[in-house]
Amino acid sequence: MKGRLEQAFVHARKRKRAAFIPYITAGDPTASRTVVLARSLERAGADVLELGVPFTDPIADGPTNQRAAERALSQGTTLSSVLAIVRELRFSSTIPVVLFSYFNPVHAYGLARFAVDAAAAGVDGVLFTDVPVDEAEAAREALRRVGIDLVLIVAPTSTRERVKAVRKLAGSFVYFVARIGVTGTRATLEEGLQDQVRMVRKLTRSRVAVGFGVSTPEQVSRISQFADGVVVGSALVQRIGELGDAPELPGEIEALARSFALATKRK
């Protein structure tokens, strides 16, 4: 069987749009709310869900995601509880889930044990912010055995040699960082993004999702014309932070996510 991730991209492509991939931090504002928010995002048109595992030292994240991680950690969220969130989500949803994590929580959990438990919970992909392709062999092997995709990152600074190395280990898609920088909302897009995405697709022979700094429907629309998927994180996380555990949170996030989902249409 082709994996759910693969199917999600095929499904989006058939409908002439890029896959919409929202990101939220697991456990923000609470674990049970994360499950509710995941369903809201799915109703809004999400093709894949990226779920952040909160970490104490998130060096690749800007202030918005740092604060979300702090909120989640203050709720006692750990890697085990993130897996429990995915297990619970699986009672009501089949949306592909990619965990977005720093390496240390997984290292402490034990790579092999993590792979088995993540697969049992219903995780489809794992992306490590701080494991470049050079260090990815062991993680890829452990995840491959249980049928989970390792999602590797390509950056604007990556050399051709590095992009080619990614190709050898890449799963159903690679994640292209739209910015030289940390996560967060940005007013404008980089020049030359389209050419870079084309190059990455050619060198990796993989689908390319674009993220980091994508924060308005206009940006989503532009990227959707040339990328296979678009990741929107901080704009949603920011709103979750503003609303906290308010009753209107799921509805508000659904409406906001829908505005992004509609923008993935190819012209």
């Binding site: 104490t56 390496f103 470049p132 600074t157």
Partner: protein, 397 residues
């Protein structure tokens, strides 16, 4: 045995490069630029020239006569890094890396600092070489090392307070890495210790190895034999790596690294990675890390800002596991006692970091014979700590 680290920056199972992809090509470029520079005679000559005419090297080796008599055992020698320009060994690495930054065409340098000594050293080297400089410092460290904050500003650096997490060195490194991810084409990150992703652990050790090379010649001349033991404090571990590296091949010399035992043995009360930590990945490298069972990094405590850090350089992790170096812990209180002891007996006010090494020496020297020598790396002077020690002891200045 093959020299360590290997080509991927590993010391046994420790080290490596665990950073966002954006930093990988720049780290490869840095590794190459450093490899070229260290083989370039002109670069080596310029560095040696600055170390001697600007930093004040070689630093002397002092025989601590009254301390030796007081302790009643081994002869204690002090490698006087406190006499370096800016008051600590940090300048050796700062000048080296800033020269490298200039060679790489980077007009801006950034640095993290805990006690402020590395920040001051980088601000100094940047002023000397005409580079823009920004230093990240936890707000708790800004409070306890206020003098160094103002020194950095006097030197023309911009100091940015970091108000996240424990507001100490760890958080300053997080923020420096975020800056670097965003500014990497114009900026060199001058990491201050033998930690972080490859090539930093080996590059910083090499810039600091001048301490050990000088000390080896000096102790042979002054004591007429090798020391029985070398003692140095270990935060990230650069002063220790600098003095140990020359002596590692001499198996008869015991090497001792002293960590901050803080105010207790529970997680959060100390910064003793080798007695309370487990292997983990933090700030780009695999090493011993103080963390909980979920892999969340623990808060740390030490009276000394420079030792108040939850991880340790990967080569130290390797030396620990291969038993070449013994790591011990010293409490805040013992360090403060040693701070006073050296001040009163030798007329040298040591940095609180260094005081940890001295506390261990006062414990171990009486148990060694009078013919033997202990060499202590006196990594920095304590001017920066005077007001904090006064505060801790209830003295109003």
């Amino acid at each position: 045995m093959k020299p360590l680290p290997d080509s991927r920056g590993y010391f046994g199972p420790y080290g490596g490069r665990f950073v966002p992809e954006t930093l990988m090509a720049p780290l490869e470029e840095l590794t190459q630029a450093w490899q070229e520079a260290r083989r370039d005679r002109a670069f080596r000559r310029e560095l040696a020239e600055l170390l001697s005419t600007y930093c004040g090297r070689p630093t002397p080796l002092s025989f601590a006569g009254r301390l030796t008599k007081h302790l009643g055992g081994a002869a204690v020698y002090l490698k006087r890094e406190d006499l370096c320009h800016t008051g600590a060994h940090k300048i050796n690495n700062a000048v080296g890396q800033c020269l490298l930054a200039r060679r790489m065409g980077k007009a801006r340098v950034i640095a993290e600092t805990g006690a402020g000594q590395h920040g001051v050293a980088v601000a100094t080297a940047a002023a000397l070489l005409g580079l823009h400089c920004r230093v990240y410092m936890g707000t708790e460290d800004e409070r306890r090392q206020a003098l160094n904050v103002y020194r950095m500003k006097l030197l023309g650096a911009e100091v940015v307070g970091v108000d996240a997490g424990s507001k100490t060195l760890k958080d300053a490194i997080n923020e420096s890495l975020r800056d670097w991810v965003s500014s990497v084409s114009s900026t060199h990150y001058v990491m201050g210790s033998v930690m972080g992703p490859h090539p930093y652990p080996v590059m910083v050790r090499e810039f600091q190895s001048v301490i050990g090379s000088e000390a080896l010649l000096q102790i042979r001349k002054q004591h007429r034999s090798l020391p029985k033991m070398i003692v140095a404090c270990v935060g990230g571990g650069s002063n220790a790596a600098g003095i140990f590296s020359a002596f590692v091949p001499y198996r008869q010399v015991d090497l001792v690294g002293v960590e901050a035992g803080g105010r207790g043995t529970r997680l959060g009360e100390h910064a003793a990675r080798f007695s309370g930590g487990t292997p983990g990945v933090l700030h780009g490298t695999r090493s011993y890390v103080l963390q909980d069972q979920h892999g969340l990094v623990a808060e740390t405590h030490s009276v000394s800002a420079g030792l108040d850090y939850p991880a340790v350089g990967p080569e130290h992790a390797w030396w620990h596991d291969s038993r070449r170096v013994t790591y011990v812990r010293v409490s805040d209180e013992e360090a403060l006692d040693a701070f006073h002891l050296l001040s009163e007996l030798e007329g040298i006010v040591p940095a609180l970091e260094t005081a940890h090494a001295l506390a261990y020496v006062s414990h171990v020297a009486p148990r060694l014979g009078p013919g033997q020598a202990i060499l202590v790396n006196l990594s920095g002077r304590g001017d920066k700590d005077v007001s904090e020690v006064a505060r801790l002891e209830g003295v109003t200045l």
